[in-house]
Symmetry: C2
Subunit: 357 residues, 2 copies
């Protein structure tokens, strides 16, 4: 029987444990956490078989470190004397080059270390947010060191694919550059837009859905982001410089009243946005229906039952605006193949509805 250790049983660590135990009941999953009640809770939730003790480490085929980034060095110092040669050590941190340097610094050369970053977020942090499906369909980046044993990389890759994640092998530098652009820069942009307004809060009276969407992530935990931005400092600083030069392009064309170039920039941005893949692959073949509905108790139930009875699955739904006490509009994602049937059904029931382009 294969034994796997998970150090840190927060939302990612515990979800990983649940997924492993679910997919491979023959494995023994051991876990530890700085907080003893969390370990007890992990057993109740079937995220681990039993608590991980220091003496168990020598028998583990894979050790996942699922602690906050800053804790990784002290974990490596604690485990390096216990793990056996050949063990695979990985982590789940959202910055990779810095972590790879910690591995190099603290682990003996007979250990295979492979950086890991599951792109899975949860609305909840801590073990109470754990869920055996959290990693399902999530891109899971692996950053093996140049010296990593290819067979060991394959073992980890296949295990992650087996629990339903989508593994992707990248160099740690490449990973860090990519996430600086698609994750860390958007965070700084959102935060900067909010910083601009902090001394003019009355400006927010004119704020609409655009600002709300654009700055939603600025509400996230500052401590978490402080670590991410500093530990990926080089790539993030490059990203900010690149972002500033894009903004200077806009500043120049607007100052020069250059409508042709401005239109080119905006059109190119629109095209890129429209090409953005959806993260959840199951939402990809979805058509959006917008309907005007009375805003009263039971109407969502009526709509849901109407489509459900026709075996049409609503796989995305959002109330777009409540205009007054009486009416609102709602957006529903349905499988593309059932879009026209759904539209017909709504119209036959007197509901104003259309397909969103």
């Amino acid at each position: 029987m294969k034994r796997i250790a998970i150090i840190g049983l927060g939302v990612i660590g515990a979800s990983l444990g649940m997924a492993l135990k679910n997919a491979r009941p023959d494995f023994e999953v051991l876990g530890s956490d700085i907080d003893p009640p969390t370990v007890k809770k992990a057993m109740e939730m079937a995220a681990i078989n039993r608590p991980l003790l220091d003496e168990d480490l020598c028998g583990c085929a894979i050790v996942f470190i699922a602690t906050p980034l800053r804790i990784i060095p002290e974990v490596l110092i604690r485990i390096r004397g216990q793990i056996s040669p050949g063990t695979i050590v990985s982590d789940v941190g959202s910055v990779k080059s810095w972590v790879m340097h910690q591995y190099e610094k603290y682990l003996p050369p007979d250990i295979t270390f492979i950086g890991g970053h599951p792109l899975a977020g949860s609305d909840r942090s801590g073990i109470t947010g754990a869920d055996k499906y959290l990693l399902q369909n999530a891109v899971y980046v692996l950053t093996p060191s140049a010296a990593a044993d290819a067979e060991k990389v394959e073992i980890l890759y296949k295990l992650l694919a087996h629990i339903g994640a989508t593994p992707m092998v990248l160099s740690s530098d490449e990973h860090d550059r990519m996430v600086s652009k698609v994750s860390h820069l958007p965070h700084i942009a959102a935060a900067s837009l909010m910083n601009m307004l902090e001394h003019n809060l009355e400006d927010l009276h004119l704020a609409g859905g655009g600002l709300r969407d654009t700055t939603r992530i600025a509400a996230s935990n500052p401590e978490l982001w402080e670590d991410i931005l500093l530990l990926n400092g080089t790539a993030v600083a490059d990203g900010i410089r690149d972002f500033i030069s894009q903004l200077e392009n806009y500043l120049n064309v607007i100052s020069n009243n250059d409508d042709t170039s401005l239109n080119q920039y905006l059109t190119s941005a629109q095209r890129t946005r429209k090409n953005m893949p959806l993260v959840r692959s199951s939402l990809q073949h979805c058509a959006d229906i917008v309907a005007i509905i009375p805003d009263k108790p039971g109407i969502i139930g009526f709509l849901g039952t109407l489509l459900g009875d026709a075996d049409i699955n609503i796989n995305d739904i959002q109330i777009m605006g409540v205009r007054d006490e009486n009416e609102g509009s709602i957006r529903m994602g349905v499988p593309q193949s059932q879009a026209y049937a759904a539209l017909e059904l709504l119209k036959n029931n007197g509901i104003k509805a259309w397909l969103r382009s």
Copy 2:
């Protein structure tokens, strides 16, 4: 009987007509559009009583210009010889100082011009997107000129309040500065983030919900935004410079590894974001419930009916993620006073649910 003219029957013009006819059936609302079938459609939709002819203009108490911004000067040239002294002329454009200059340039001094900007968006453009509730609860900015007759401003103010909008009087410069920060800059930020990625589309494989939210508005119509950004060029250029200096703050603290200052910036941004008012006042006293639900036809109907039967109104709903074929999580907004009752009801029906902080 009061006669009102609406020139341009797109989503805003036609929605304004519907709201006016609904609130003041004693008024006669006349409308024109560059596209003759649109005028016919406006009559069918009860957005106007009849088409507006040039000779009707002299009898109109208020003329609303609801065309694209760029068209306003030629509309003013066409109507200025027809309207009577004392007529109120207004518009619905999202830039105000430029429009006020057009009014000054083209209208005789005995006309009261008052700039207008309803902050109401629709998912659809053109008359087919019109809706008598579109302006309901929407902030509607009025920018009277310094010379404007105070009584006339009050007439327009009260009429807009009467149709359910929330009028707010500002100077045109103040309006333009405010919207540059809360609307035009977020647009440029979203577009710039997309421009950064246009030559590295493969980076989008690591994109998550953060990037999707932050850049959603970059998918909007480039022609519309080209006009807005150029016609509010001065305020937008100031805004970009301010935004760049915020980004330089982040660049400095990250380059200097200054965790204390970085934490201050992020914490301040988080506080401002959490203070952001919701635009739709009816959503303000809403609590968010997150539930894990099986992903199958009819489940939305089941949930909606469950809460509806208990007279709990779901006034916001969103499917947050579909993990695999079997399960997903859903967010539902319910009135704050009913949040615990809703939670209890869901739990009693075997649904894992919690309040989102």
